[in-house]
Point group: C2
Chain length 112, copies 2
DNA sequence: TTGAGTACTTACCAAAAGGTGCATACTTGT
DNA sequence: ACAAGTATGCACCTTTTGGTAAGTACTCAA
């Protein structure tokens, strides 16, 4: 749980798993709404945990890409059923979530 | 991801899945190291998300138990591979983690 | 010379998450 | 009378997480 917890980590794993080695800029555009700081941060953590590999081509202008390690691949596999669950039950889950979001703003409910 | 994120939620799901309807006190002792406040809080969220069902027997002294809804069961299923992954790669992952925990305290590394 | 693109880093800030300790209302055991 | 067990609630605080805005060193195009 510790390794995947991070607002954007599952999404990062998803994109890197899909596209093979992925450049930083591509990830940045793919993930959308993530800031540089956080994206870098999560990539560093994934790298430190041995899930992704960072390759620096030492070119100028800079070129770097990220790919999954074998460990990362196995994790991506293990996440598939969860991803499927999310997709299948998205409607069900986000419906109750939407309801909550409504009354959460103005006080407690009175569901007797 | 939103539904399972919470320091103790996976563990709660695990215990409730294992033992069938589980009383609050049992959970409390099973999960260990969780505070009342947080345990209750996570249970309420799981309930609000439709994953667990709370049954209050209206007795005195109070008796309440928690069980999985069908949705909760399906989620527990989807978590199995991830759990397995965690178990299988625990050594690998926690080794790098331990190393990091060491130098993280005294400054950056210089892995050239 | 200005602007855009590359892959980051840093300082600062806000929100979320989790933890501690105390309170409740009632019963059972000593 | 007093402590312990039952399932919570509340006020307060710390830690963790994520976000914003700016800066870096360098190249290419206008």
């Amino acid at each position: 749980m510790r390794v995947v917890s991070g607002k954007w980590k599952p999404l990062i794993l998803y994109f890197v798993a899909q596209g093979g080695p992925t450049r930083y800029g591509e990830l940045r555009r793919a993930v959308r709404d993530v800031s540089d700081k956080v994206l870098i941060q999560q990539l560093k953590e994934l790298e430190a945990d041995g899930l992704v590999k960072r390759t620096d081509y030492k070119e100028v202008p800079p070129r770097v890409d990220y790919s999954l390690t074998p460990l990362g691949h196995s994790l991506a596999q293990a996440l598939v059923p969860l991803c499927t669950w999310g997709t299948e039950h998205m409607a069900e889950v986000s419906r109750v979530f939407a309801e909550r979001a409504t009354w959460t703003r103005r006080g407690r409910q009175s569901t007797g």
